[in-house]
Point group: C2
DNA sequence: AAAGAAGTTCACTTTTTGGTCACCTATACA
DNA sequence: TGTATAGGTGACCAAAAAGTGAACTTCTTT
C-alpha cells in the first residue's frame, strides 16, 4: 500500500468521518433518538452553536445524519441518524469496547 | 452521558489514539512485520522524518508499538507492534470494511 | 582528516481546527 | 411596539497539528 492507496483506503475514510472533536458524542446522542438542535446544544455546554453547527453540517454532507425542519412556531430543526449513519452502531461499539479495555490495562 | 464522561469513554480514547495523520498507515505497515525506521520513512515519502518520529513516539508512549535498538553499525532502530497494538487488528479491519462499504454506496 | 549513514532534535512557519462574540431572520405574543 | 425564541452566519482569534530544513551524534569506511 502506498500513499495514494492509503488515502482512499476504508480505514482512512472512516477515521476522517469520525475525526471531529464533537462528532462521536453527537453520534452517541443521536443513537438515543432524533434530537432538536437546541437540546443537543444544551447537553454540550462547552460547544458554541457555530461549532456544533459545523460538525452537524459536515456529518450531514457525509450522509451520516439528516436535518429535518418542522416549521411550526417557534421553528424547530431536528437531527437524526440516516440509514448510513445507523450502520456505524457496531463500529462505535467496538471502538468503545476496545477503549474501555485499553483503559483498564493501563491502570 | 455528559461531557466529562464522554472524555473518558472508550470510543473517545480509541479515536484519539488513532487520530494522528499517519498513525493508521504506520499501523498497517507494522502489521506486516517489524520495520526499520528508515524503511518506514522510505515508504512514506511525504512525511518528514521529524513528523514520522513524532507519530511513532506518541504511539510508543501509548503502548501500541515498541522501539527496538540494534546497535551494530550503522545503528538500526526497529519499530514493531506491542501485544496491545496487535489487539487493534480486528478494529482496523472493521474500520476498513465500513469505509470500503461507505465509499461504494457513495459512487 | 573527510565523508557518509541512521536516528534524532531544534527553531521556525504554515495549515487546520476549534473558539468567542456579535448579529440576522422570522414569527408569536404581551 | 417591543421582546423573546429557534436556528443560523460572519469576522476574527487562539491553539494544535503538521511541515521544512538544518544540524548533531556515533561510528565506519576511505
Amino acid at each position: 500500500m502506498n500513499y495514494e492507496e492509503f488515502q482512499k483506503c476504508g480505514a482512512r475514510v472512516t477515521l476522517s468521518l469520525l475525526a471531529g472533536k464533537w462528532k462521536p458524542l453527537i453520534l452517541f446522542y443521536l443513537f438515543t433518538g432524533s434530537q432538536r438542535f437546541t437540546d443537543l446544544w444544551r447537553i454540550m455546554p462547552r460547544v458554541s452553536k457555530k461549532v456544533l453547527l459545523e460538525q452537524l453540517k459536515e456529518m450531514e454532507e457525509a450522509g451520516l445524519i439528516r436535518r429535518v425542519e418542522k416549521n411550526g412556531f417557534p421553528p424547530e430543526v431536528f437531527y437524526e441518524l440516516s440509514e448510513q449513519g445507523r450502520t456505524l452502531g457496531p463500529l462505535l461499539k467496538q471502538l468503545d469496547e476496545w477503549g474501555d479495555n485499553y483503559i483498564q490495562t493501563k491502570e
